[in-house]
């Protein structure tokens, strides 16, 4: 049984009548110990997807299953026990920590909210986890503004881990960090994954990072999954024209490697303007008449490799 399985998930924004689906029929699974990378450009719905799985945004349709149990309709109390198993790491290491709480309190409150009454037990866990994320014990009495961006991200990770979850949803966890700090955090996530047998849903706009860090990758475009494959296949044999364009556009730190025959794309449409056909139609270099009228479904093109394109 998959740890997390999402089926036909829909999330809509906007007032009634003029609403659009920011996430539109997304299905995937996360197995135990696996890292799923979700990539796409701004506005593709990847961040909304992560938040809706944690029920921070109301869903408009579809099911989210944790260990086979449907959690889509659970109330606040019933959801509490599920929240222990799924936690989130945020992009902004400055905004995601309450500036008025000491690190000790930041780590203590989740356990109190989840009814861990024994103070000694809580203190023991705090000391253990702060060490695991590589911060000194003296950090506990200090406040978020006394730390650098990378250190704050460590605190954010410690807070997410304090309830001992099985799944971490990482929403752009290294995007706000400098290059040298980025590698520290990625190494930390790698170590923690092994140590606590975690699964990650790793959301990022940075393809290089996802390529390094994900086992399987989901490529999203305007609320839809356009391609999904394991990391090796996706980079070796991308099938969807959007994936190809995306991969070709990533600047590689090696001079002279730029491919000047990369497909030229037009400007991106917004999800609200999605028409009847393929959402990528207007930007697609290989669009045909069929693409304007018929929306392609995600179909298997190889074992474990799916693409939503008529011509993949």
């Amino acid at each position: 049984m998959s740890l997390l399985s999402v089926e036909d998930l829909k999330v809509s924004y906007g007032p009634k009548g003029r609403s659009f689906n920011a996430v539109d029929g997304v299905s995937f699974t996360v197995e135990k110990g696996e890292t799923i990378g979700v990539v796409g450009e701004s506005g593709c719905g990847k961040s909304t997807l992560g938040k809706s799985i944690l029920r921070l945004i109301e869903t408009a349709g579809g099911t989210i299953r944790l260990d086979g149990e449907d959690i889509t309709g659970l109330g606040h109390q019933a959801m509490m026990s599920k929240r222990r198993r799924m936690q989130m790491v945020f992009q902004d290491p400055f905004g995601s920590l309450n500036p008025r709480q000491s690190i000790g309190k930041l780590l203590d409150t989740p356990m109190r909210a989840h009814g861990i009454a024994d103070k000694a037990e809580r203190q023991k866990r705090i000391e253990y986890i702060i060490d695991k994320v590589g911060l000194p014990q003296t950090s506990l009495t200090r406040f978020p503004h006394e730390f650098s961006g990378g250190q704050r991200q460590r605190i954010g990770i410690a807070r997410a881990l304090i309830l001992r979850p099985d799944l971490l949803i990482c929403d752009e966890p290294v995007s706000a960090l400098d290059l040298s700090i980025q590698s520290q955090i990625l190494n930390l996530l790698t170590d923690l994954k092994a140590e606590f047998s975690l699964s990650y849903l790793f959301i990022s706009h940075d393809l290089s990072v996802v390529r390094y860090f994900a086992d399987r990758v989901i490529v999203m475009y305007l609320g839809r999954v356009v391609e999904t494959a394991d990391h090796e296949t996706l980079w070796r044999d991308p099938r969807h024209p959007y994936t190809r364009a995306l991969l070709a556009a990533v600047p590689i730190p090696r001079p002279g490697s730029r491919k000047h025959d990369a497909p030229i794309l037009g400007e991106r449409q917004s999800a609200a303007a999605a028409s009847a056909g393929c959402r990528f139609y207007q930007r697609c270099p290989m669009a045909q008449n069929r693409c304007a009228t018929e929306e392609p479904v995600l179909r298997s093109v190889d074992s474990g490799h799916g693409a939503a394109c008529h011509y993949a």
């Binding site: 938040k51 992009q91 905004g95 995601s96 920590l97 008025r100 709480q101 409150t109 989740p110 520290q184």
Partner: protein, 303 residues
């Protein structure tokens, strides 16, 4: 795990700009206090007034409304009653001390009532938004369209003039200021990621509102509170001047009313309580301004 253990060093302020500062928040605030002269002046005046109010019963054990000497003796003429006496031979010094009690009590309790209602309304509207917010905003506006003083008079006229009623009425008339402020703060703060983090951790709404967001909204609320208290003192004085104050208490307002007809001859009867009100209100405003600077980290960095 330790092979890549990160730096144990402290801050990373703007690197190369300033060496790591290890000051704690407490000491930063204390430094700001010491460098803020208006705040220090305001706070000392306020402290002195509070001290007199607390000790009024010990210093002047008798009822300040009792006739103790000849009426209208000028200040500094009688050693026993250094501040002179009122039109009915009451001791002005005793009246000022007991009046301080009444004024500060009204100020504090009215501000508390306003704060309580204002925070509740503002927090709920600002956090939840939507229909609840719409309704609460309309109610707030309704209260704001009625002039504060008029509303207080009506409320006191209906319920009878006693100190708790007056304080309550002033609080009820002034909470919209707090509510609007709190709502604005909550609307900004609720979109912060730390609120999202709190929700993802399953915190209850009460915990998020009062434990996570409210502490961040406190600085401007604290500043407003001091102004609120100052206004409450003025309003109470106005009421007492109109003869709608608590008849069983001496307040600065009622003392001014007492001296009204004597303004051209024995002006000190009016001037002394007037000065007391001015001084107290001024000190509260100074404290409010000072707190604004002290609690706002941005203004500190410009120092």
């Amino acid at each position: 795990m330790n092979a890549h253990s990160p730096r144990p060093s402290a801050t990373a302020a703007a690197p190369g700009v300033a060496p790591a500062r290890k000051k704690k928040t407490g000491s930063r605030a204390w430094r700001a206090v010491r460098h803020n002269l208006p705040f220090l002046i305001g706070a000392s005046i306020l402290l002195a007034v509070a001290l007199i109010a607390i000790c009024a019963g010990v210093l002047y054990p008798g009822d300040p409304r009792d006739m103790v000497t000849l009426p209208l003796s000028w200040p500094l003429t009688d050693n026993e009653y250094p501040l002179g006496s009122g039109s009915l031979g009451t001791d002005l010094a005793s009246g000022l001390a007991h009046g301080a009690q009444a004024s500060l009590l009204v100020g504090v309790s009215a501000a508390s009532v306003g704060l309580l209602i204002g925070i509740l309304v503002g927090a709920i509207g600002g956090y939840f938004g939507g229909i609840a917010d719409d309704i609460l905003v309309r109610i707030t506006e309704l209260f704001q369209t009625v002039p504060t003083f008029l509303l207080v008079i009506v409320l006191v006229a209906i319920s009878g003039p006693s100190l708790p009623i007056i304080a309550g009425a002033i609080g009820v008339a002034t909470w919209p200021t707090v509510a609007r402020l709190v709502r604005a703060e909550f609307r900004t703060l609720r979109s912060n990621d730390f609120v999202l983090a709190a929700r993802s951790l399953g915190y209850s709404t009460t915990r998020i509102i009062f434990g996570e967001i409210l502490p961040n909204a406190l600085p401007p609320i604290v500043v407003t509170t001091s102004v609120l208290a100052a206004n409450a003192i003025l309003t109470e004085a106005g009421l007492s001047f109109l003869g709608m104050g608590d008849p069983n208490l001496v307040s600065w307002g009622s003392m001014i009313a007492d001296g009204r007809s004597l303004l051209r001859t024995e002006w000190f009867v009016t001037a002394l309580p007037g000065a007391a009100i001015t001084l107290t209100v001024l000190s509260l405003n100074l404290v409010g301004d000072g707190l604004n600077d002290i609690l706002n980290p941005r203004s500190e960095s410009n120092r």
